[in-house]
């Protein structure tokens, strides 16, 4: 059962190689107590980091990216429309925050990825593989059928 500690809206520099930058106070960071074993330390110290941002009004992301995120991460978006990313991997608040930011970067990078048009060779290879699978399946089916037929005793 977590109880929320401090609630901060701070300027966090978040950027990645693809070139998006979130530099305004868009990320809401909260710290709370982590779960799991750890005795007095885990009971008292706020180490779990919780980072949220409102997807619809995130103008540091393009429209397509926003729609992709809304579609793909529906389960992690709350009723207010905020994407929630949490982390409690380590004993240190700083490291958990770094982990959350990395997760956000990964989400955005994955959302920005465009599916590459398949090359002809790959499409051809795929078609051949599917055909082979069907052919093999039907061959096995015929073998199995002949086995069953031979076992049958016909009463003439």
């Amino acid at each position: 059962m977590e109880l929320f500690g401090e609630c901060l809206s701070l300027v966090y520099p978040l950027s990645c190689d693809n070139g998006f930058v979130c530099s305004s106070d868009r990320l809401t960071v909260t710290y709370s107590r982590s779960s799991g074993p750890g005795g007095q330390n885990v009971n008292k110290v706020n180490t779990k980091a919780d980072v949220r941002f409102h997807v619809a009004t995130a103008d540091w992301l393009s429209e397509e990216v926003r729609s992709v995120i809304t579609a793909k991460y529906q389960n992690r978006i709350n009723r207010a429309g905020q994407l929630i990313v949490t982390s409690e991997v380590s004993r240190y608040q700083m490291r958990n925050l770094a982990d959350c930011l990395q997760k956000i970067r990964d989400i955005v990078t994955a959302a920005q990825e465009k599916p590459q048009p398949q090359s002809k060779e790959t499409a051809e290879m795929r078609r051949m593989r599917v055909e082979n699978m069907h052919r093999e399946r039907l061959r096995q089916k015929k073998i199995h059928s002949s086995i069953k037929r031979e076992r049958r005793v016909t009463v003439d």
Binding site: Y12, L14, V45, M94, R95
Partner: protein, 296 residues
């Protein structure tokens, strides 16, 4: 001091007899008579040896013997856990918790660059150069509560520790000291009393050169421009705003850094410090000066 107590004790001194062997005795219970074996009631009869057998006859086998079964200390195979241990470099850990504690108690002054000498003077760490200690390492414990702006120099630091120091507007550098110079750094006064000129610091050994030339580790041999870039990228990684040091009041103190050949701030290699007369003797000879200024 109660005058009546003093007066009565002086009266006692006047009245009582002289202290001599006749009126001295130890406190009750201070001297306990030893048990002399074989001399009657509780030291006698079997004399604490038990009844018959190897124990009474003083014939027990060696420690570890298990009656013929392969003993535990032989069953366990040998493995080189401690092989070459005396060649391994050790770094005394200094947690950020401890550093904050020392600063809060006023034992370490954050308005001056923090060096191994300052920490040893404050008895914050104990370094034993003769036991293969090559300095101190900054450990992450207490990274979340660390809130001091310092210019600190250590011998090893982990990424989170670097981030914790820089987040508060401080500067951290990792520097190498060879064992002789580390001993001098830890105990400067006893070195100055020896009457030897300050030696120049040696460059790190081959294995450590990549570590100390890397900007990510804030090595003292790294390119300062790269160090600045790494500071910015670390801030992005850990999600804090890198404070602008150039606008700080303590900018000159924070950017104080030792020359790779220098051991002490304000003292160059080759100088001879005369502590009793409070004088410093500097070499004039060209060759000597050239030697003390060259790195190889």
């Amino acid at each position: 001091m109660s005058w009546s107590g003093v007066r009565s004790s002086l009266e006692l001194l006047r009245r009582l007899p002289r202290v001599s062997l006749a009126n001295l005795r130890p406190n009750p219970g201070a001297k306990k008579r030893e048990k002399r074996r074989g001399r009657g009631i509780h030291g006698g009869k079997k004399s604490g040896r038990g009844h018959k057998g190897q124990t009474q006859r003083g014939n027990r086998p060696r420690l570890g013997f298990e009656g013929g079964q392969t003993p535990f200390y032989i069953v366990i195979p040998k493995y080189g856990y401690n092989k070459g241990h005396s060649y391994r470099r050790q770094y005394q850990p200094l947690s950020l918790n401890r550093l904050q504690y020392l600063i809060d108690l006023g034992r370490v002054d954050p308005s001056q660059p923090i060096d191994l000498t300052q920490l040893v003077n404050a008895r914050g760490v104990t370094v034993q150069p003769l036991k293969r200690d090559y300095g101190i390492q900054l450990v992450e414990e207490g990274a979340d509560i660390f809130a001091a702006k310092v210019n600190i120099e250590v011998q090893w630091a982990s990424e989170l520790a670097i981030a914790a120091v820089e987040r508060n507007g401080g500067i951290i550098t990792t520097a190498f000291y060879d064992p002789r110079n580390l001993d001098i750094l830890c105990k400067p006064v006893s070195f100055f009393l020896r009457g030897q000129p300050i030696p120049k610091r040696m460059l790190p050994p081959e294995e450590l050169v990549p570590y100390y030339t890397d900007a990510q580790n804030r090595g003292y041999l790294a390119d300062p421009a790269k160090v600045q870039k790494e500071r910015i990228s670390l801030a992005k990684k850990y999600g804090y705003i890198l404070p602008d040091i150039s606008k700080d009041v303590m900018y000159s103190m924070l950017t104080m850094r030792k020359d790779p050949l220098q051991i002490f701030f304000g003292l160059a290699p080759g100088w001879l410090v005369n502590l009793p007369e409070k004088k410093i003797l500097k070499p004039i000879d060209e060759e000597l000066c050239k030697y003390y200024r060259s790195e190889l």
